[in-house]
Symmetry: C3
Subunit: 304 residues, 3 copies
Amino acid sequence: MDIHYTEEVSNALKENRAVVALESTIITHGMPYPDNLEMARSVEAIIRDNGAVPATIAVIEGKLHVGLNDDQAEWLAQQKGTMKLSRADLAFAMVRGATGGTTVAATMMAAQAAGIAVFATGGIGGVHRGAEESFDISADLDELGRTPVTVVSAGAKAILDIPKTMEALETRGVPVIAYGQDALPAFWSRDSGFTAPLRLDTASQIAEFMQMRTQQKVFGHGGILITNPVPQSSEIPYSEMATIITVAQNEADQKNVSGKAVTPWLLSRIVEISGGKSLETNIALVKNNADLAAKIAVAFSKLK
Amino acid sequence: MDIHYTEEVSNALKENRAVVALESTIITHGMPYPDNLEMARSVEAIIRDNGAVPATIAVIEGKLHVGLNDDQAEWLAQQKGTMKLSRADLAFAMVRGATGGTTVAATMMAAQAAGIAVFATGGIGGVHRGAEESFDISADLDELGRTPVTVVSAGAKAILDIPKTMEALETRGVPVIAYGQDALPAFWSRDSGFTAPLRLDTASQIAEFMQMRTQQKVFGHGGILITNPVPQSSEIPYSEMATIITVAQNEADQKNVSGKAVTPWLLSRIVEISGGKSLETNIALVKNNADLAAKIAVAFSKLK
Amino acid sequence: MDIHYTEEVSNALKENRAVVALESTIITHGMPYPDNLEMARSVEAIIRDNGAVPATIAVIEGKLHVGLNDDQAEWLAQQKGTMKLSRADLAFAMVRGATGGTTVAATMMAAQAAGIAVFATGGIGGVHRGAEESFDISADLDELGRTPVTVVSAGAKAILDIPKTMEALETRGVPVIAYGQDALPAFWSRDSGFTAPLRLDTASQIAEFMQMRTQQKVFGHGGILITNPVPQSSEIPYSEMATIITVAQNEADQKNVSGKAVTPWLLSRIVEISGGKSLETNIALVKNNADLAAKIAVAFSKLK
Ligand SMILES: [Mn+2]
Ligand SMILES: [Mn+2]
Ligand SMILES: [Mn+2]
């Protein structure tokens, strides 16, 4: 299978050094240029500062890249009309020569293929509100159920149905671990009001858990979901976010925003309603997750 | 594992020539004798005319057949009380010496075991209307999520809940490709009113996509669903079908038809309401799918 | 992978003799001490009386045990605050040095890893009532979909939504077999009012079905669910149980019992309402399942 590595990533993998995978829909669909590029670069810097190597994953003109060099990141950050690649269409983009950002599901697939055990993102997809009628459930959940990669997130995006998402993860046998607290985080907020099923307090503990799962590969273990609360200084408390989300959703309903348009519409409307604060929180949590993911990858590389 | 091949299929597989799998519930449960036999023979002829070898799959007195000779097809077409075999009961029929037609799920399993990459059918099973209460979701969807066979269909049977079926396929990471158009077909109709997630325009493009997925087997790719619109001359437009389906369903509700009886009852009532037209359309789309499947199998055999 | 066997189990596995796995949440969460220990011992005795070896599975201070000696069983039966381990947290308990009983899902995982083909329990988890809103679906169902172990049960616990559980098993391709009757049992009752999808009448027939599935491992078969009706002398008829369950559920609703607290609350309230009869039935059905599981394991060991 044909994966294009940067020399930095390729060398790190050969030498069993710490590598952290990064998704690229945050670049292609998350923010406008040049904010997206700046964000990507500062996230990569945080990973390097921790002694790990960042491996941003994307499909560029049909080639699957694990690690982007400066020119590639710059180029990708400026593309319009790129695909948003999940399990169903990753190979499709590759054979058609398309360019796309990878979601959590597709990034997990590429990370596993490349031998990268840890992956940092903002939040995972999950069960959408109203899924009891729409059946709209992200492919990220099935991927977590089958692909043995540790995903460091700030939880499920809080516009989703969090209790249903937690149930769906339990059904699929995915461990959900709150980092350093009992409460399950909710993306922009440190505390969703729900208790996380499991808790670990250090990067080393997480690495040891990963090692135990690796040793038990006969069990066919899938992914691990780490939910890492956004730093207190950057959080928007859940009570406040709940109101903002409700307002945004009511507007979406009134304007008949539907289907795949709902999530991006809500996320952008929430930025407006919060006066830009939700975007700051989003950036802070992504950086915070990159930091923890790098620490986990370093701890894990010492155990192997 | 004990598979019974016809010499024609066995030779074609050894020589890496194009083979198309066919399901057999269309013979055992889809139509009465001798219409079912005639249909099966004309479908096989279409595949041979395209330079591929047909491999009808069925369990006959406990033996799994991949390819039926004339006597076997004739015999199977006349059996009464045969099983309708899905993943859960394929091995059960084999150990008990039973006879059964294979659904999409069981045909995919046998095709994969035999090394056949392409399979032609009418329509796949999916999420039933009312599944938000009944949880009635076909095993075909899970099978598409895990078994790497390309299924050439005219979409999901339109008595199903098409939007929910599409969501369930996305969750499971199944690429859904409309052939030669943007619209998702809806079995008897060329246009369901929904846009298909992906589109390809030639058998070669589909074969290339299959090859890319085969090369990427590390990704654990499952099946590919091709949705091939019925020829215009034979279609019943969706607006017309929607009315017919609604009438049939209201009758089913009034008569308290429930459980596993609903689908066959609806399909047969729809034939009556449409004055036989829906059966003609059904036959036309199966032939059309066999034709496309054969062209894909031939293109794929040249790439290997 | 580090599994701790008793000498009895280890020898039996080496010599390809019949072994029956047993879960341990019945010990840690099902009954108080010393009833739980007494129950565990009598179940093990029934298995030995049939010429098979019992292998109770549990995690004790981080170690995965397949088979417990007398001291370990005695110790486990007296622990408080143990974990209830499913797929998501089995490895977590192991790395953290915790102690826990294994659910159906985790017991299946350990049985497969140990090479044990048959597992006896009371009832499996399934789709909870109200799951159309809560999405509360046991990980046991996904495990049955993927892990090739035969689970001998008295059906799904009848406080669950039985029709939805049956649909979910069909979607996942799990054969559900009623033993010796057409009706699907419903834990405390011999007849749920539904017909089981499949029926077998002897332990040998079940062993032959298992062998056929084993020979067809290319199909990626998961588990088999045997539903074994509780002996008539111990059953509570379904009409009676339905009333008791409804009363208990109404009380749970009035008292706002919710989330993970519902199932244990209902089970214990049902014991009270039935004047202790439901507990007797529960014990009788577990013993009855151990007996059948042992007979299946013996028959299967002769076929290998
Ligand atoms: Mn979706
Ligand atoms: Mn069904
Ligand atoms: Mn649950």
